[in-house]
Symmetry: C3
Subunit: 222 residues, 3 copies
């Protein structure tokens, strides 16, 4: 399966998208640490694991050198995100009076949504670049987008996103499919990537706003 | 340590055994999702992780290209298994009146037993093929057999098989030892592999049937 | 960034430190299995995962061949540690009357502290040897030191060390920084390594003895 040429050319763009996704995921990891009332070191650890976890798994699976090992700036970005959350996040827990999720949880959700959409595209693009089959490239996009958050939840002892019946994996899947599909149709990186990002983010945003979820196994059809 | 030649020759057989193990493990992952009343996307994710998780860890550890990345058909097999479970599994929870495990749990256990026995052999064989030392090949067989199920349980938030005091790891260990031992003695792949498979499956089946378990630390000898 | 030459020369020393760290971490894993009243197979599994888990992650991340695959003696050391704990650990649970941690937990803590300090140095040194950037080498030291214990806790279903607000990651971080810093200043392996080990162990020991912990997010400054 030939690698679409325009993707190859735009790896610098990927590089910056990667940083942005690392930063927002890192911040979401630090917010998880804030919710668990952890110390500054755990803030940094959670930020780093959430920020680079998905991409690390992708690189290990496709046999690429792990992206942050020779570019420690990725980890530094995560640590800065952790520091920002430590300094800026409201100290007092403020559970919403109506039982709705508080502001901190909502902030984490939206950062997570941005990171997820960016990683779905970046993960697929890096895999396509390395000559991985398109189907597996979609899987890599989903893994890159979802895995950091899954590790964060497992380590924080919270129910992970796989069990929450959210539209999360689904949104990452949509974004990765749109991006890989458009790339195979010959679109260059930016239109394909922005379409994938927009599709993933829009679906996730709608799911957060209207609290959509997929029907559970065994539930009666409505 | 020389690689037994007959194993090298039979990698096509391995290939098919691999698919079979992936399918049954995938189904067991989907059944775990059914028990947790998840949606279809989580069915697919659990099926894929359980199906290819053990083999993925093996390939990463022995430095082989991860087996499903260039052959997405493995993932597709998992997704088909998830779809089959979604369509065919009984929708209503049917806890057994006597407090025994229900049918769904039993189905998962038996599929798991088949996958475990196949993976104990396949995992060891692939490691031997790549020139890994026999002792480590046994370890790879056990990891390949056990790791998919361990991830499934950790992600599903259930007590994982390491904590259940089942004869599970033990059965995988027996199967891998039998296979590697017979291979070193010069047997060709099929007799060695079938012996290993049979040993692992028989021990696991007996343990399920008679609810055997190993003595716990500190328990008085009977 | 040039690799400090004296480190390269002393890889034999590393090799033995590695064994010692594997053995003490292996024993701490087996003690976790003893606390959970597991069987002998789970003792071995926990000992192996805890003993080699951190180093395995390090090797996968820096792209080195996983250290125990071609040298199964590491796994054998873990299994011997498991056997020793099985035979020697007191069988009866002996909770301390005052609600303090019992002897078994304290033994695990101190073994863990030794292994952590050794691994913080060994992990960084191996990464430096392979030409990894100093900042990432520090990260590798911390991961090598912490990851085995984190996996042990996740698999044992206990709250993992990231959530305990202990001075643990902090101690590993200090040890790795001291070692990498002194190495970059041109010190040879033994003085740099012993300084790093001593710094990590001393901080951890003080934290255990005086039950120090870092301030939690949102806690009022004292």
């Amino acid at each position: 399966m030939p690698v679409p040429a325009p993707i190859e050319a735009l790896s610098t763009a990927l590089y910056w998208l990667d940083y942005a996704a690392v930063a927002v995921f890192g911040a979401s990891g630090a917010i998880a640490a804030a919710r668990a009332r952890q110390d500054i070191i755990t803030f940094g650890f959670f930020a780093a694991i959430t920020g680079v976890g998905g991409g690390t798994l992708r690189d290990v699976l496709i046999g690429a050198p792990v992206f942050w090992v020779q570019r420690p700036s990725y980890i530094i970005v995560c640590l800065l995100a952790a520091l920002a959350v430590w300094c800026l996040a409201p100290k007092s827990a403020s559970p919403h009076p109506d039982g709705k999720p508080g502001k901190r949880l909502m902030a984490m959700m939206w950062l997570d949504a941005l990171g997820m959409a960016a990683y779905a595209v970046v993960g697929s693009a890096k895999a396509l670049n390395l000559g991985v089959a398109p189907f597996s490239a979609v899987v890599m996009g989903v893994l890159t987008a979802a895995f950091g958050g899954v590790i964060r939840d497992v380590l924080a002892g919270e129910p992970n996103l796989l069990l929450r019946r959210d539209i999360y994996i689904t949104a990452a899947l949509l974004g990765a499919c749109v991006f890989v599909g458009l790339s195979l149709l010959g679109l260059s990186f930016w239109p394909a990537g922005l379409s994938g990002f927009a599709a993933a983010f829009a679906l996730r945003a709608a799911a957060i706003h209207w609290t959509w979820c997929l029907p559970a196994f065994g539930a009666p059809p409505k």
